[in-house]
Symmetry: C2
Subunit: 407 residues, 2 copies
Amino acid sequence: MSLIVQKFGGTSVADLERIRNVAERVAKTFDQGNNVVVVLSAMAGITDGLIDMANQVAVSPDKRELDVLLATGEQTTAALLAMTLQSMNYPAKSILGYQAEIITNRNYGSARILEIGADRIKKLIEKHNIVVMAGFQGCDAEGNITTLGRGGSDTSAVAIAAALNADKCEIFTDVDGIYTADPNICEKARKLSVISYDEMLEMSGLGAKVLQIRSVEFAKKYNVSVHVRSSFSEEEGTMVVNEDSDMERLVVSGVTLNKDAARITLKKVPDQPGVAAKIFSPIADEKILVDMIIQNTRAEGLTDLTFTVSKKDFIKALEIEKQVAQQIGAEKVFGDENIAKVSVTGVGMRSHSGVASKVFSTLAGENINILMISTSEIRISCIIEEKYGELAVRVLHKAFGLDKVGK
Amino acid sequence: MSLIVQKFGGTSVADLERIRNVAERVAKTFDQGNNVVVVLSAMAGITDGLIDMANQVAVSPDKRELDVLLATGEQTTAALLAMTLQSMNYPAKSILGYQAEIITNRNYGSARILEIGADRIKKLIEKHNIVVMAGFQGCDAEGNITTLGRGGSDTSAVAIAAALNADKCEIFTDVDGIYTADPNICEKARKLSVISYDEMLEMSGLGAKVLQIRSVEFAKKYNVSVHVRSSFSEEEGTMVVNEDSDMERLVVSGVTLNKDAARITLKKVPDQPGVAAKIFSPIADEKILVDMIIQNTRAEGLTDLTFTVSKKDFIKALEIEKQVAQQIGAEKVFGDENIAKVSVTGVGMRSHSGVASKVFSTLAGENINILMISTSEIRISCIIEEKYGELAVRVLHKAFGLDKVGK
């Protein structure tokens, strides 16, 4: 008898009819002789609605209380699904974060799981119950309700799968798997049957939002194989697994585009110790995240420094740097919002050389100018003009042999 | 420094603006140098909405899961009020049933409180927090969420007031106190400044729904003085207190009318041992509650038996008794839906004779025929024709000197 964790996202439980569909899917898995632990998100839109209410009563809602409020969303779906299963004569019991002993730190709104004392779930399973766990929530050591941040139910599912040593962890969502590129941009994108944790981590960080990034970190740490699949079809999705697994060996497994980038350049910065701190400290103080940083040394003790931020932070960062430039004696500051980041990701890069040069020559072949470059062990990212973003994805997708055959 | 428990009902927290009003009221009490524990209901209508959802997913929703679902209502208002208070710079913390250790039996949907381990609330109070407790909910010894039934937040408030040995327990509601009669029926009804637990218990049982009856039992058991008052005005309401308190001494403190009654009569029942059991067992098996029972012995070993039930159970009870009559050889069964119960209640009856005869003569003076009579130590109830109900209330109200002066 296998133990299967099945997680359903907000669109999969968006209304009572869809909850019924989820119940039927769960019942089928149970009927096949499996133990099942279901992890649920709130109904689509509910969490945003609760946040709206909170923002109406308080300019900056207390984070502890916001978590108490938000936790009602998953509590509702867990109770409704358990009821639905019971009405179909399946033995189901809901369990909330604190009942499942999902112990987190006290970082309200984006708490991290410290430990899971899954005894109560184990007992329920022993009595052959279908366990319906409210995702997204836990509690700190003193019993205060905490939540795990956007997409936190993914992490709930992977964490409980690890704690229970489950045989499978299935993440049901509104897409049918992980693609080699966004099918809206690249019609020849194809679904990957398998992807490694590291590739998934890089892609999540690049804005592919299928899984919460922390859930992938968790899966990697505890070696939980995660099956990302559609809740609206029976088709197999994508397995997210350890790199050592028997994977299809692609050099590059995906091409991603992130348009949420803007760059700021400080020209002719006096190249002295401490100058970088002067440039980046006031940005950090405003909680603005900096992505890429590039420094080109010029002659005469001067340097040019360029960095990228989210588009939403662009105006503020630019203002800050104009003040900084005066203080440190930089010649000029200018910014550019019309950029995008295109990235190729693949664990194959670890053993294949020539990937970077192929990226550069492919883009050059379309006369796409590369403005900045950054790399990791398994990823190459280029900042290019925004208008070339989609084209870049398509030509790179083809160049690395990712195009679907026959289309 | 006093400790005050303030409970606000569903209409008092019906929307975000009203929650703001509640916050201001609580803040004012806190500013006056008091410690405050607030107990909240769900927003008006929310509990019914959740029950509707449950009934859509299951014909007979599992009671454990229904309690998990319903508990979200009070969790929501508790978080919102705590947030609102914090945004006004008051130190507020929400606390849920299980966190407050409101330990109940496992009778889901109408659980009874077994004990309260109020340590956590005491600690929060010591740190000078305003504690905002979710009413209506508790948990059993194993941590399963339970609810206390309709109006259960009243009981939450009284119970926590008892556990904390609070100085005051204020129940804020949408009426401004307890009246000598329903002002919609009797315009000369006046607000009582004080009423005893026993009178309140009789009146609650008679259909005056200001307080959950169990909360009054609790208040009586632990001698908690309860102040029922309006959340929409500053006016004093009605104190519900021990009879020994310094009360205004009315013989009768209230006249109530309950139209939800129907009667069934079995004529010429053979008067044998066990015949009553044969008449009432099948009714009890259908979970139909019987209110009054009257038996008139006739000659020749025959008896007439009349009893009352709720109007909603009338048809079913009548069908059952027609079958029973055949089995036991009763001559005839007939029913009457057009009846009502009018009652006068007052602890003064314990020491005043002549109350019953005054009731009978007053009704007789209006040619109102009395169909059945039942009494308790502090109450006299008469079944009369429904159409005379309002008139009976008014004449009894006047006869016992309850009319407001000058109107």
